[in-house]
Assembly symmetry: C2
Homo-oligomer: 157 residues x 2
């Protein structure tokens, strides 16, 4: 069931009120930051539509809108790595969500096999040509070919 | 100066490579998660375009693209609350950035006066009508009317 969220009427109510009035963009999406509850590590950045947000609230399990597959995506459905929502926050103008989760299984959330999608750091020195990425996760947590056999890669060029 | 970022050619290079190849959306923007370096607290969620990302890399101070004002926004320009970038990460498909920052002054990053833009938690009980927001920051860090005199509120309905 899709919940009826509050209608956005005035800035004061949006910023200082206690009514959930999320703003969905022109595609019907709101960005979501997902962090690991125990460590605070940011695991991923995704999107929810009204239905995914409703399902996340109702079930306590993170559901996203997959922009690459154009469907509601119950995180963990293929991999078993479900995200149990501990806490959900919304920002000042209510156009972004932050959820803290406990991930089941090996605790990873990245389809490439790393724990966090943010497994690379941008290293910049003096010259433009020196900008580089450095891996901060040295090893994958799982093998994506085993966990997602035959699944198309969601990364788009 | 706007930097020349790597051209996205194949998924393997994007996910497993060491070349920065950020994906800017159809509006030329990439979402950015900003956290406080000392605590890991997520402070805000914003957007950069190529120029803002270039300026952030070159100066070490967070620059964003303000969607409400349609301009490059050097964070702290009005308030003095600059964000010094300690660390910058990019996600698996390189369409989202995560920066860790030290905020100058009182350490706040939210235009409403709170430390973090995520100052409210979504509390949900059994019934739809029970969904509510609870303030997790009890007091503002600064008074926005003093810090941003005469500035239009960036929050849009």
């Amino acid at each position: 069931m899709t919940l009826n969220f509050g209608k956005r009427k005035n800035v004061y109510e949006i910023e200082e009120g206690k009514i959930l009035q999320p703003k969905f963009d022109e595609k019907g999406l709101i960005p979501v930051i997902t962090s690991e509850d125990s460590s605070g590590l940011i695991l991923m950045h995704g999107y929810m539509n009204k239905e995914a947000l409703s399902l996340s609230i109702e079930t306590g399990l993170a559901h996203y809108w997959s922009r690459s597959r154009n469907l509601i995506w119950k995180k963990g459905e293929s991999s078993g790595l479900y995200q149990k929502i501990v806490d959900m926050k919304i920002d000042d103008d209510q156009d972004c969500l932050w959820i803290s989760v406990n991930v089941s299984g090996n605790g990873a959330s990245c389809h490439v096999g790393y724990k966090s999608c943010f497994y690379r750091k941008i290293v910049f020195k003096k010259k433009e040509s020196d900008i580089n990425l450095e891996f901060i996760e040295k090893e994958k947590t799982f093998d994506p070919d085993v966990v997602y056999p035959n699944a198309p890669n969601p990364t788009k060029i």
